[in-house]
């Protein structure tokens, strides 16, 4: 049956249901009775009003003589006043002044002609727009009636919100117009949480299609600037206020930039500060160039230095440092074991004034030993930035850095032990930082990391804010891996350093990042069905610098420690879908975007040549969920990766297929479906050739999805819990 047919059937069935509760029925009845009452009341009131008017007209004018006296008195006063004014203006008396005024030429021209507006009722939107924390607006509708236009805005405010809206300004911006149609002062009473503002618009004409709405608070800040498209009923954000823009930049971009490229090359104990600084400058510039996907040529690296530091080093080769050297026209790194000059731990404050961003940065010097970061002394410095208007590598230019390294915190003043999770029993994790034994583990990982890292391909983790800092990278299946789409590609385990969002404390946590081989989906496939759970949603404005669209999956473990993210990239003829899973020791979110930028942008861990891409579409997907060559099937792990519901969805293909192969009894009995998670032997149930006997292969952790009929005959489908592929099945019963 077609979708339309199904839709009609569903509608038909649902409309049959006309059951409503007694109470609801009473509400309707009472209201409708009341409505009649109200209507008759209105009619009565109307009648009473008319009667009053008639009575008023009929009343005799008993006090006419008093009015006459009053009017005469007024004339005397006005005449006296006007006479005095006329003499001060050089006239003999007021009559001469009036004569002169009457004889003056008329020089007033009529510039505005009132137009008759067609009546319209335009419903614009009932969606909330958050203009500040706890302050939402809805631009509900525009009603034009009897030549009068009114814009209705609903304000929804949390009691905690302290922002006071002062006024609303509506401007006609159709075409090149810029005509203010209405300024409305807020009628909000204190402590009101919801109300509707009615903004009267004058001077609007029938051609008006676009309005600009500006909402201003009592401190004269623009809270929001919106474009209202009356034709398409669309709202577009023109901009937030300056503070808001700054706040957004500082909270996201600048922190990212600072976290990655903070210029803290000087260590007060060093005897060669200049070399360290040059080295750091090069390091920063090279990282920027690599992340952009460019070669670290002299021109590119020097350009990045110029953009970030304002330093012109066009003709100078900066090759006098220990870590970086210049060879064959390119700057290259000398691999060093995990060394990092400084680690940004926190950026507690960023202020903005006259185009300059001043950031306060707390950092430490982990040197080569990253295992005891919380034991190290922490330092504070300030840095000042301006914006580059025209840039290739960085939007921010560092204009000043505080040379005085001030020691502000002793390590002992930072409490981390109570927030470091205890995951020593978890095999996936590499231990906490609380014991010496674990520290050794961490050190081992530093070496592991360093030996795996190729500094020209991997961006140095270097200075990171809320970044994983110590890694062990395990590429499953080796460099020439033939992993199937959806199988685990890479596992990264390490320690992440960040700020607890609840307590604000700097914490360390174990982190495991699991990256799956990408899927390639045809463009006619509804991506969201493949990339997200039913709770998944597109994260608006949450894009990596590579332009990947992000989808977040709410799937979490019972302790809330596992988060799965999916993103996709549009290629020429298909979508490339990535799934990445983050597992931490406790429920706190990392700035995963940073991590993924690093993973995708620098490491190129999961890139495949286009000719190797197997594009899945609605037709091919069914066959693609079956493992056809079980001899070659050998996933590196046996971890449970897919969810039960995903397994059920995949098993559906197995049930359909089983109906073609045997009687398939019970395969349609969805109600009887049960799912268990067990280790079973993969088998040739779906791959066996004619007359080939049953054959078992390796043991795999599988979801066994089972359906049966009333007679107890049925089918079991084995869905590999790691790869989500069907690796076997069985018929049971008679």
């Amino acid at each position: 049956m077609t979708d339309m047919g199904k839709d009609n059937f569903i509608k038909e069935q649902l409309e049959k249901d006309i059951l409503i509760s007694k109470k609801a029925d009473e509400v309707f009845n009472h209201f409708l009775k009341g409505e009649k009452y109200m209507k008759s009341n209105q009619e009565n009131n109307h009648f009473v009003q008319e009667e009053k008017d008639i009575n008023r007209q009929k009343k005799p004018k008993n006090h006419g003589w008093m009015k006459l006296v009053s009017v005469a008195a007024c004339f005397v006063v006005i005449f006296a006043g006007a006479n005095v004014y006329a003499t001060t203006q050089g006239y003999k008396n007021v009559f001469f002044m009036i004569k002169d005024l009457v004889n003056k030429e008329e020089n007033v021209t009529i510039t505005e002609k009132s137009e008759i507006l067609s009546d319209r009722d335009i419903t614009i939107s009932y969606s909330n727009i958050e203009i500040a924390e706890g302050l939402n607006i809805q631009i509900n509708r525009l009603i034009i009636k009897d030549n009068e236009a009114k814009l209705y805005i609903r304000i929804i405010k949390d009691t905690e919100n302290q922002i006071n809206i002062k006024k609303y300004i509506v401007t006609d911006i159709t075409g090149n117009k810029d005509v203010v149609l209405g300024t409305h002062n807020s009628t909000l009473e204190p402590n009101t949480i919801e109300y509707t503002e009615e903004i009267k618009l004058t001077g609007m004409d029938n051609a008006t299609q676009k309005l600009k709405l500006e909402i201003i608070d009592d401190k004269e800040n623009t809270l929001i600037l919106l474009e209202i498209d009356l034709l398409n009923k669309e709202l577009d954000l023109l901009s937030y206020n300056k503070n808001e823009i700054f706040e957004k930049l500082s909270e996201t971009e600048l922190k990212e930039i600072l976290g990655e490229y903070a210029y803290i090359a000087f260590e007060n104990t060093s005897n060669n500060i200049e070399d360290m600084r040059t080295n750091r400058e090069l390091d920063i510039a090279m990282t920027m160039v690599i992340q952009k996907g460019d070669k670290t040529t002299k021109e590119n690296v020097h350009k990045a230095i110029k953009e970030y530091l304002g330093k012109d080093v066009t003709d100078t080769i900066l090759d006098k440092t220990g870590d970086i050297y210049f060879e064959n026209g390119e700057y290259k790194y000398t691999p060093r074991d995990g060394f990092c000059p400084a680690l940004v731990l926190d950026i507690p404050e960023i202020t903005y004034k006259d185009g300059v961003y001043t950031a306060t940065i707390i950092y430490c010097f982990p040197g080569e030993d990253w295992s005891n970061i919380e034991q190290l002394e922490q330092y504070q410095t300030t840095m000042e930035f301006t914006l580059n208007t025209n840039y290739t590598y960085t939007k921010y230019c560092l204009i000043n850095a505080d040379e005085m390294v001030k020691q502000v915190y002793k390590a002992a003043s930072i409490s981390v032990s109570n927030v470091v999770p205890n995951n020593t029993e978890e095999e996936d994790f590499i231990g906490t930082t609380e014991s010496e034994e674990n520290d050794d583990d961490n050190l081992q990982n530093v070496n592991n990391y360093a030996s795996t890292m190729d500094w020209t391909n991997y961006s140095a983790p270097g200075i990171r804010f809320i970044y994983p800092t110590i890694f062990s990278v395990e590429e499953i299946g080796g460099a020439n891996r033939g992993n199937r789409p959806g199988e685990i590609s890479t596992k990264i385990t390490g320690i992440a350093i960040g700020k607890d969002p609840d307590t604000g404390k700097i914490i360390k946590s174990n982190l495991t990042i699991t990256i799956y081989e990408p899927l390639y989906l045809a463009k006619n496939v509804d991506i969201r069905q493949y990339t997200t759970s039913s709770n998944g949603y597109e994260k608006a404005g949450f894009k990596t610098y590579e332009g990947l669209m992000w989808y977040e999956d709410y799937y979490k473990d019972d302790d809330g420690s596992k988060e799965t993210y999916t993103c996709l990239r549009e290629l020429t003829n298909c979508y490339e879908v990535y799934k990445i899973e983050f597992q931490t020791g406790k429920d706190w979110s990392f700035k995963v975007r940073n991590i993924i930028n690093w993973l995708l942008g620098s490491t190129k861990l999961i890139e495949r040549p286009e000719n190797e891409i197997i594009i899945m579409n609605e037709e091919t997907e069914e066959t693609d969920v079956f493992v056809t060559d079980l001899d070659q099937y050998n996933p590196a792990s046996n971890d449970v990766v897919i969810s039960k519901s995903e397994a059920q969805r995949i098993a559906q293909y197995g049930f359909e297929e089983s109906k073609k192969r045997i009687a398939g009894e019970g395969a349609d009995n969805v109600d009887s479906e049960t799912v268990t998670l067990e280790e079973v032997y993969a088998n040739n149930y779906f791959t066996a050739k004619y007359n080939e006997s049953h054959k078992n292969y390796m043991k795999r952790m599988c979801y066994i999805v089972r359906r049966e009929n009333e007679m107890g005959n049925g089918i079991k489908i084995y869905v590999d819990a790691t790869t989500g592929l069907i690796v076997g099945g069985a018929a049971f019963g008679d």
């Binding site: 069935q13 509400v27 109200m38 419903t123």
Partner: protein, 160 residues
């Protein structure tokens, strides 16, 4: 021209189902309906195209439902617990009698509202996207899953 009363009578079942699907509580649903009726009555003369009354009314109602959720979310007093339990009991009995409810309760939670708005209230995908503040693509994908689930449930019940 149909009166406000007639128009409300035509849409009352839809209103109740919609409010119940969102609020899952008879008392709250009735409150939202009452609020919506008052608001609609006060603005009725502003509705020029009376043929859109159903859609307009349901929009107001949905708005009131979310208002109520928004308000209720803030404080739940302990002594309301009993009341809530009782409502849940009522809801359970209602659920077992209502085809719509018994069907909707078998599908995923986040699909329910989309199902109701599309199949029952006849909103377009764009409208649903606006009402629920989710992208149109999400509405489409949810709808696609909803369609399969509802179809198989209803087909089975029809056979029975």
């Amino acid at each position: 021209m149909e009166s406000f009363e007639d128009l409300v009578k035509n849409v009352k079942v839809k209103m109740y189902k919609t409010a119940m699907a969102i609020l899952k509580n008879d008392d709250d649903a009735c409150d939202a309906i009452q609020e919506a009726l008052i608001s609609a009555y006060q603005n009725f003369e502003k509705l020029r195209e009376k043929q859109y009354f159903d859609t307009w009314m349901i929009r107001i109602l949905i708005h009131k439902c979310y208002d109520l959720i928004h308000k209720n979310k803030k404080v739940v007093y302990l002594n309301q617990k009993l009341e809530i339990d009782m409502n849940e009991q009522y809801y359970d009995s209602y659920k077992s009698e209502s085809v719509l409810e018994s069907t909707l309760c078998q599908i995923d939670t986040d699909l329910k509202t989309v199902a109701l708005l599309y199949y029952y209230d006849n909103f377009t995908i764009k409208d649903i996207s606006n009402i629920l503040n989710i992208p149109e693509g999400t509405v489409k994908s949810r709808l696609s899953r909803t369609r399969e689930q509802l179809y198989s449930i209803l087909k089975k019940e029809e056979v029975i």
